[in-house]
Symmetry: C2
Subunit: 281 residues, 2 copies
């Protein structure tokens, strides 16, 4: 059975693994994302993958924005990584086919093959953490278009109890989903990180509102069969029922709602990268 | 060359045509949408299509919501049409394959085959009139999922100059896109229909804002290569540059924007129905 390499390329760390699926996966290995020299990170990743080969192909889920045609990172605020040709660098160093897609499309693919989106053809995967991003499939194809989705940047109606003067923290849009509901927005608004705020704090009502308003908009746009919510903020288990209730309130019976669930696979990111590699070769 | 029948099934009229494409299309015929007896409308439509046959298949773009598996109309506020099995009724009466999709997916398909979306695989078609709806394709497939998109019902941030006390007219969501920006919302807010308001009226700044905020959200969700805006409200030509400018302001350079254009085909609805019929047979 052919083995595949997996890279989950994040802004603070690269996670690598190799194998064929959840039942046959090396323990994931972590390498710091260099802030000054991408090739330093790539060198460590390549060395690890070569040690864990032979590999038929390698899949990569990467922070964005990406050029999906060339597999390059484009206008990231991580300056050293701007315009870094990730796919060709890895391919040249590894000598096997490399497929690159967004971190969220790839994590969603992991859930599609081995988790909560099994058997579906139209679903969304969102991560809510230090940033907010989303990906998924429409009718069996990963969401690509002119570029790729940027689901963290939806513009949403404010919650009526939003504290006066809080204006969102997104450098581009201030008040978009990420600017209002990612971890740094919660901390900027209340002065404490999300995990320190008690479950009955108003913070969670606002958090549920913004996530739910975004989900209503995703449902109206794509009609997903299921929505998977991952990421650090969603580790607060009390948030799921609050989001589901708020989605139902906001949609007000207009369309039948999809299930809203956590990921089933702890390692859906690297598993999706394995699956992406498999599709390549 | 095989000929196909086309039905654009709307809430006030059914428009029928037959042919093979824009260069070979009968003049469209109109039949009133009965408010009391759907079969009366269907009888007229069937008679017209039979006179204009023989037809290899018939495509239908229909008002919703629809069950796309069975081709039935479901929970429409037009009570006589609730749960009407449009596809099977037409198929039984005509004796040829009938394909049914949403009016907006079908109009978008007309633009995909013969108009502004030619050669693209991911695009949106929106109509802005007495209601607002949207459809299109993601990677070459019409947008279907759990059901179909309901793009008129996005939840959006209010414009700062929104008149105090105006609370939107959507019976389900009040403040959604349709409740704030469809023709009846404009008339309810200002006391005049859109076409009577001069181009420098604040009404148009608000209209451009809500449409643009929705487009930003569609772009962030689907990354379309192009967005086509049709419908009566968009006949106000001064609205296009205002929408484009507002989209650019709201997106603030975060992603490269798709073109935002009117439809190229005056009859994209019936042409899309011809194309849908062709795909069936």
């Amino acid at each position: 059975m052919k083995r595949y390499g997996a890279i989950e390329a994040g802004g603070t760390k690269f996670v690598c693994a190799a194998g064929t699926g959840p039942e046959d996966l090396t323990p994931p290995a972590r390498f710091e994302t260099s802030n000054t020299d991408p090739r330093q990170t790539i060198k460590q990743v390549v060395a690890w993958l070569k040690e864990n080969g032979p590999l038929a192909a390698v899949g990569v889920g990467c922070f964005g924005p990406l050029d999906l045609h060339s597999g390059a990172i484009t206008t990231t605020p991580k300056l050293a990584w701007q315009n870094f040709p990730l796919k060709t660098e890895l391919q040249d160093a590894l000598g096997v086919p490399v497929a690159v897609d967004t971190d969220v499309n790839v994590a969603g693919l992991g859930e599609h093959v081995w988790g909560a989106a099994r058997g579906l053809d139209t679903y969304l995967y969102l991560t809510v953490g230090t940033g907010i991003g989303g990906g998924g499939m429409a009718r069996g194809h990963l969401l690509h278009g002119k570029q790729h989705p940027e689901m963290g940047h939806l513009l949403l109606p404010r919650h009526p109890q939003e504290p006066g003067g809080f204006d969102g923290v997104c450098p581009w849009h201030k008040n978009c989903l990420e600017g209002l509901a990612a971890g740094p927005a919660v901390e900027a608004r209340w002065g404490f990180p999300a995990y320190e705020l008690p479950p009955d704090h108003l913070a969670w009502r606002l958090e549920a509102h913004y996530l739910a308003a975004a989900l209503v908009n995703f449902i109206c746009t794509l009609s997903p069969q299921k929505i998977i919510l991952g990421g650090g903020v969603m580790d607060q288990a009390h948030l799921f029922p609050m989001v589901r209730t708020r989605v139902a309130d906001l949609m007000n019976g207009y369309v039948e709602l999809p299930e809203i669930v956590p990921p089933e696979q702890r390692w859906c990111g690297v598993l999706g990268a394995i699956a992406l590699g498999q599709q390549t070769h």
